[in-house]
Amino acid sequence: MSQPLLQVRDLSLLYGPQKGCQGVSFDLYPGEVLGIVGESGSGKSTLLSLLSGRLPPQAGSIGYRSKEGEWLDLYSASEAERRTLLRTEWGFVEQNPRDGLRMGVSAGANIGERLMAQGVRNYQQLRGAGLDWLSQVEIDPQRIDDLPRTFSGGMQQRLQIARNLVSSPRLVFMDEPTGGLDVSVQARLLDLLRGLVRELDLAVVIVTHDLAVARLLADRLMVMRRSRVVETGLTDQILDDPQHPYSQLLVSSVLQP
């Protein structure tokens, strides 16, 4: 089939013994959703920071195949190149929407920011994209001039997703995207994400401690414990027939994953 989008080899960053992550390797293909699960402190978020170019590793490499088909070694690239990537071909959805949004500007300006960074200056075009994306994430387009702080938590999270997806990224990182939301709002967001991932053929790396979220969104899973990946495989195989003692504990500890 096609070539991988991301090639991760032996990635490590340790803050202390078994704190951080070490020896992580995998390939991610276009349109593939990879879930990273494990208890807090297992290294999931550290790994996500390394993968998304926010934190340099102590060892290992990340190769990314750009839109033009060229391989880029993430941590030998310049800081400017990494930033451009993060604002164009990549996206990052934070757990707390306040960390991913600009709270002092309108919803429309939040959505338009990436397009402006790519050189779009036409007001009508920016406004059009704002209206279009608000309705795609099921926010009333009439709210386009309102500040994000007047939105509910679920709406803020959907706005953050719109802000990331407007630049047509190929790869999106998500850190517990449904973590801070009420259960009723979670279902809606998950359904929305599922639809967008399929429609836009996005590759996604999603960190979650919620195995039900992992089952719904991820094609395959990596289970992390004490800085290491202890098991990888097809999502339903890991959840229904976990092999590693820790994965078995994790799966048997939740109510109906």
Binding site: M1, A187, R188, D191, L216, D219, R220, D241, P245, Q248
Partner: protein, 240 residues
């Protein structure tokens, strides 16, 4: 060996329960069979003989301990034991279907969309997928007023029939069926039997579990005896 679509050799499956003192359960051992297009193999054996485990292992839901599962996928033979997740997902999209008794409900997703999904994943145009889904739901006696609702609130029997409609949405060359007719009334059971016979006539290889004898007699071509009698004794000897 013409037109064989799936071939299983010396397949074994064990469960190691690390949370329960590392107990090892040998559920499948030395399973051998192959199934041709247009044929239905019925798994035979008591409850606990490993019939559902075999289906789940074939589907990649359970990880095999050893042996081989080869399937004819996209005109080529593919080994599923040890295959990459994305290859298994490809096989599930194009070649291998699975119908269980239970529907995994996704909040907010309408009945019609649940049924259409396998066709949309294969890239069917939506009107064509919708026409087929409506046809199946009508045949399985799901009232039209329910089609746009999420099946979370449906009765158990209705959910089961939605799941069957989804299972027969596209023509899978190989189909795994885990008691699709269980607890259905006579008229709906008849519809499911017709759907299975249509799939066979269309060249599909079926592997199924049917507790209900009438259903078995209506579709079975061959049986695979999974009674573990001699194996159980042997295992007991090992344990001592």
């Amino acid at each position: 060996m013409m037109n064989t679509l799936i071939e299983v050799r010396d397949l074994s499956k064990t469960f190691t329960l690390h949370q329960q003192n590392g107990v090892v359960l040998n559920v499948l051992r030395g399973v051998d069979f192959s199934v041709q297009g247009g044929e239905c193999l019925v798994l035979h054996g008591q409850s606990g003989a490993g019939k559902s485990t075999l289906l789940r292992t074939l589907y990649g839901n359970y990880l095999p301990a050893g042996g081989s599962i080869r399937i004819c996928h996209d005109g080529q033979w593919l080994e599923l034991v040890g295959a990459q997740p994305r290859d298994i997902l490809q096989v599930r999209q194009q070649t291998l279907g699975y119908v269980s008794q239970f529907l995994r409900v996704i909040p907010r997703v309408a009945c019609l969309d649940v049924v259409m999904e396998p066709a949309l994943a294969r890239g069917w145009p939506k009107p064509q997928a919708q026409a087929r889904a409506e046809h199946l739901l009508a045949r399985l006696n799901i009232p039209q007023r329910l089609w746009q609702l999420a099946p979370g609130t449906f009765s158990g029997g209705e959910q089961q029939r939605v799941n069957i409609a989804r299972g027969f949405m596209v023509a899978w060359p190989v189909m795994l069926l885990d008691e699709p007719t269980a607890s259905l009334d006579d008229s709906n059971r008849q519809v499911v039997l017709e759907l299975m016979n249509e799939a066979k006539a269309g060249g599909a290889a079926l592997i199924g579990i049917f507790h209900d004898r009438a259903a078995r007699e209506a579709v079975a071509d061959r049986h695979l005896d999974m009674t573990p009698a001699h194996q159980a004794e042997e295992e007991y000897a090992h344990a001592r």
